[in-house]
Structure formats: C-alpha cells, structure tokens
C-alpha cells in the first residue's frame, strides 16, 4: 500500500494531494528559509491570526450589501487585506519603536485575532446570512485538496520561488546586515516588503488549501532543519526545499496507507522527524556530531597535556586528566607513570620539541599556518622523513650550544 502511494498509483486523490503537498512543501521550504534568515520565523503565525478580522469585516460588508456573505473571493480578499495591514503594523512597530520583533508580532497577532472574535460575535447576532462555521470556513484540509488547488500551488510556488531566488542576494544581505546593505544602495524596506508579501501570499492561500497549522509548520520546520546541514545560505535554501517537498511527499503517502491518519498533521510530523534527524545527526552543527568531536578533542588535549607533564615530571593538576591517563594505563592509581606512560610521554615531548623548532623556522619564512594546533598532531603525519631528520639535526646542534 505504501509503495503504491509513493509511486503515485493509488488513485486520483492520493496522486493529486501528493503532488500538491510536495509542491507546497518546496515553495514553503524556500520562502520559509528567507523568513528564518530574517529571524522572524513566526511572522506566518501572525499573518494567519490577522486574517480573522478581515474575514469578519468582509462577511459583514457583503451581507450588508445584500450579497451572499460566504462568497469565497470576498472572504479571501478581506483576509488578505487585514493580514497585510497586520504585517505593515508589525514592520512599523519594529522599525519605529523600541519594541523587539517578537513583541511586535505577538501584539499584532493577539489584538487582530481578538478584534476578529469581536466581529464574529457581531455576526452571530445577525439574523440574515449563513454565518454558521464562518471561522473554520476558510481553513482547508490537506486531504481535501482539489485539482485547481494543486494548480494554484504550482503557480503560486513558481512565482514566489522565482522572485525569491531572483532577489536572493539583496534579501540575504539585508537580513545579515541591513546597514551595510544600505551602503550598497539596496533599500532594506523594499526587500522587507518583498519577503513579507511572499510570506503573506503563501500563508493566506496555503491556509485555504492545507489548513492553518500545516502552513505555519511548513514555513518554520524545514528551514530550521536545513540550517543544521550547511553554513552557506544558498545550500540551506536548497536543502529546505528538499526537506519541505520530502515531508509533503512522505506525509501524504503515509496518510494514504491507514485509517485515522490526518494528512496535514502527518506531514507536519514528517517534517518534525526530518528536524530531529538534522538536530541530532547533522555532521558539524548536529548535536551528537558536535558533542562527539568536542569529546574527542577534549580527550586528545588532556592526553597530550598529561603526557607532557609526565615527560617533564610536572604535577598533573586536573582530575579529569588523571582519569583519562589512568584509564589508558599510562599512570597508576597513585599517579605514578607506568612504563608505557613514560615511553609515550617521551615521544610526545620529542614531537613537541620538533614542532616548536619547525615553528620558529616557519616563522621566519612567514608561512606559518596559525589555525593548526601543532602539538596535538604527530609530526610524522605532516612532514616528510628527511624534513624530520633535518629538524633533529637542528635540535642536537642547539643541544651542544646550550651545554
């Protein structure tokens, strides 16, 4: 069953929703990354809440004018306008007052939603018009995706992706350092409005097709997961698009295999799994990888330090160093070095001396690579055999001079 779902041979709805969800995942993955880079990931949550007053006002206006209150275009238009107004206020609050970004988003989100609820209680009292279920009327469900929804996603995705990819450079520059961008003649306001306009379109339309929570999730989770895999913004955008598409594709397939698996939430949980995998396993920034490399580095540092102290019979201060050396059988419980310990200590000291002799020479020639910590690296792995011999000769000459 899962295989047929994955290979898009599971009937019309499954195929349509899989394609639609994958495209939606890709489009939101890309636009979400720009929001993430600008540090206002939760803007989509604010947009979704800010649509409610527009919805209520549109319904009231249309019923007042005698039209059918539930005409889709009117409601969508109203929601988009009030969400755009909300966005403008967020931007205005962030730039013109001392409020931080999340306080601006939070206040607009809560006040707009509250005013929307007030309008709903006004509508509730109106006898005319079919206002039942107005609040959830606009919220789509992913499984109920229609053909023209999929087309709309394709078109919307194509437009937003091309705009964002086209203006990738200025947008990233502004989100990294807007004052510097200004010096290059890029106007932060324009790029801001461009990104927010895209976020608005994706959220309002996405909400109608796939439901509120799915859209907010897709815009946030994929970019955060992608961030773990690379330091270059272009690669992050690409990975985020892949993650978004993948979670849409897998989520829909899984949802088609068994009863009681709501499609939207399954897609969200798939992208959460992708996040978890990235969070733990990503090579450098991943938590496990970082912990492991820190632990290995720490062990080498303690080993080298400890052995050098043994070689120069200096006291070992840190208990951790003692533990590490003891566990490897280089010192006994009472701290006295074992035979193996002494041998390796001597070798480490020689390595240290050779490196310091080599560093002085490199210093004069000026091509000393400062980033490498030489004493943690055994010299045989870096230099050729005869280079090491020349160092040893140099060392023994120095020895004669000093004696």
């Amino acid at each position: 069953m899962l295989w047929s779902a994955l290979s898009l041979t599971l009937g019309y709805n499954a195929t349509l929703v899989t394609l639609g969800a994958t495209l939606l995942g890709i489009a939101t993955g890309i636009s979400g990354t720009f929001l993430y880079l600008r540090k206002n990931a939760l803007i989509s949550d604010a947009i979704s809440h800010a649509t409610l007053p527009g919805l209520g006002a549109a319904f009231l206006l249309m019923t007042g004018a005698g039209l059918d209150g539930r005409n889709l275009i009117g409601l969508l238009g109203g929601s988009a306008i009030s969400a755009a107004l909300g966005l403008m206020i967020v931007t205005w609050l962030t730039t013109k007052t001392r409020l931080s970004q999340d306080a601006a988003i939070g206040s607009v989100l809560s006040v707009f939603f509250a005013f929307g609820v007030v309008l709903l209680t006004v509508i509730q009292a109106l006898p005319a018009g079919r206002q039942a279920g107005l609040e959830t009327f606009l919220l789509g469900s992913t499984a109920g995706m229609l053909f023209n929804d999929a087309v709309l996603i394709l078109v919307l995705g194509a437009i937003t992706t091309s705009i964002l990819v086209l203006f990738r450079r200025p947008i990233i520059l502004v989100s990294f350092d807007s004052t510097y961008a200004q010096t290059l003649g890029i106007s932060p306001q324009k790029t801001d409005y461009l990104v927010l306009a895209v976020a608005l379109a994706v959220t309002v339309i996405g909400m109608k097709i796939a439901g509120l929570i799915l859209i907010v999730a897709l815009l946030i989770i994929a970019p955060v997961a992608a961030r773990f895999w690379s330091e270059k913004s272009d690669t992050i955008i690409l990975i985020s698009a892949i993650f978004g598409g993948l979670s849409g594709y897998l989520g829909t397939a899984i949802s088609a295999t068994a009863p009681g698996l709501p499609t939207g939430p399954i897609i969200v949980l798939c992208s959460f799994v992708l996040f978890l995998v990235s969070f733990l396993l990503a090579p450098r920034r991943g938590v496990l990888a970082a912990a492991r490399s820190f632990w290995v580095f720490q062990r080498t540092v303690h080993m080298t330090q400890g052995l050098l102290s043994i070689a120069q019979n200096q006291p070992i201060y840190e208990p951790k160093t003692k533990r590490i050396l003891q566990r490897r059988g280089f010192i006994r419980a009472d701290g006295v070095a074992t035979q193996a310990g002494r041998a390796l200590a001597a070798k480490t000291l020689l390595n240290e001396r050779r490196w310091s002799f080599w560093r002085n020479k490199m210093q004069q020639t000026g091509d000393l690579d400062e980033s490498i910590v030489y004493s943690l690296v055994s010299i045989e792995t870096k230099l050729t055999h005869d280079q090491i011999e020349s160092i040893d000769r140099g060392l023994s000459e120095e020895q004669q001079e000093r004696v």
Partner: protein
Amino acid sequence: MGSDFVALSLPPLLIGLCASMACALPGNFLILRKQALIGDAISHVVLPGIVVAFLFTGQVSTWPMMIGAAGAAITAVLLIELIRRVGRIESGAAMGVIFTSMFAAGVLLLEQSDTSQVHLDVEHALFGNLESLIWLDAEGWASLFQIKALAGLPVELLRMATVLLAVSAFVYIFWRPLALICFDEPYARTRGIAATALGFALVTLTAIAAVAAFDAVGSIIVIAMIICPPATARLMVNSLRSQVIYSQVLAFMATVLGYMFAGYVPLWLGFSNTLSAAGMIASMSGVFLACAALFGPHRRRNI
C-alpha cells in the same frame, strides 16, 4: 441594577482582572527576553495534553483537562528551551517547531483514538468563557459579607487569585536576579545566579498561569495580556520597576474598559446583543499599545 451587577458582572470582572494582571506581570520579563510569544505557543500546545487527559479519565471535566494541558505546556517549554540552547536556534523558530508539531501530534492522537467523535476540541474542552463565571447566590452588595452566599462564588475566582498571588510573589522575591538575567545574563552567571534555571522557572510559571487562565477566561485574553500591557508600558517609561507597575495598571484598565464595552455599551447604544468580552478586552489593550506607539514618551529606541 445593583444585584444584577454583583451577580453577573462582578465575578467575571474580578476573575478577568486576576487573569490579566497575572499574565501581564511575567510578560514584562518575557518581552525583554524575546519570549513574548510563549502564550500563543502554549495555546496551541494544549491540544495533545487534553486528548491524553481525556483518554486517561474518560471525562471532559475541568481538573483532568487542566492537568493534561499544564503537562503539555511544561513539556513544550522544556523542549523549546532544549532545542533553543543545544541547537542554537532562535527562540521564535524553536517555539514554532515545537508548538506546530505538538498540535499535529494532538490531532493525530484525536483521530487515532477516534475521540474525534466527541466534542473534544480545545475550544470546548479547556477554554473557558469570561461571561459565564457568574455568582447566582448573590442578592446584592450585602452578599459579599454572607459566608453562605460567598460559598456560591465561581471557583475560578479563587484559582485565579491564587495564581496572581503566586506570580506576584515570584516576581517580588526574584526581582533583582530576574532584572539581572534580562539585562546581562552572562554577567549574572558570574555573580553566581543560576540564570538558566531562573529563566526556565519564569517560563514554566507563566505556562501554568496561562493554563489556569485558559480554563477561566479562554486563550485570547492570555495571549494578549502577556504582550500588550508590558509592551505599552515599555514605550511609556524607562525603568523596569515603573514598567511593571504601569503594565498592571494598563491590564486593569483594559479589562474594565473592555468588559464595559463588550457587555454594557452595546446595550446603551440600543443594540440588543452584547459582544465577546475576551475579544474586547484584548482589543482594548491593543488600542492602548497603539496610542503608546504613536505618542509614548519613550517609544523611540535611544541609541
């Protein structure tokens, strides 16, 4: 008018006041620590908590729902803090990842345990309604002094009063360290303050206060009150102490004015239907914020 007011408006007003002030108080520190959206995150996160509580207890009554919701809220706060610190993720994105995933898990749980047949959604099971917290035993102002009548007071009043007390005690006791970790967390560590633990305590206490307030007055007031009064106060004054005091006054005024505009003004204007008190209270706090943002003495960033 007297007995009507005491029976039908006094309790909701008092409960609304306790809830608003209990949420605005920690809000002052949360907006300085860029965690203002915690209220919104928690309002989404409670769904799985409720479904689990329902599966265990089989009923949709107050205490199981609140415990389930509080459990979910604390788990969420823990996870958000974990991925924020360990994964070095910006706090807004961390909240987004956790609350959407937990909500999705809640819907999945709802469908899998086919409790979707029951009215078990957040709106009905947990979120309370300010207007329905009335005190039928009251005959008039005199009943304030009759023990028998007082027994009939809605239990939410006691609960929210305790929450307000607990939050005020926490802020009063930890005033200095809280101010220090908001201003300069690394320096606070050098002074021996357990900055991470204190930050976590602040957010957890807010989560519990929010869940209690959800049950009494719904999520709209909570989300707005955590952010708007403190933000308005921040644009009006320059010292943390006066900001906290202003935020309490603003929360008080927003609640009273909001309740009047929702419950009484429409009737005075000749309409026969009143409006949502929660929605109007939150909108009122938004109006205050708008005024402060336009005319507040300290609205601009100094440097």
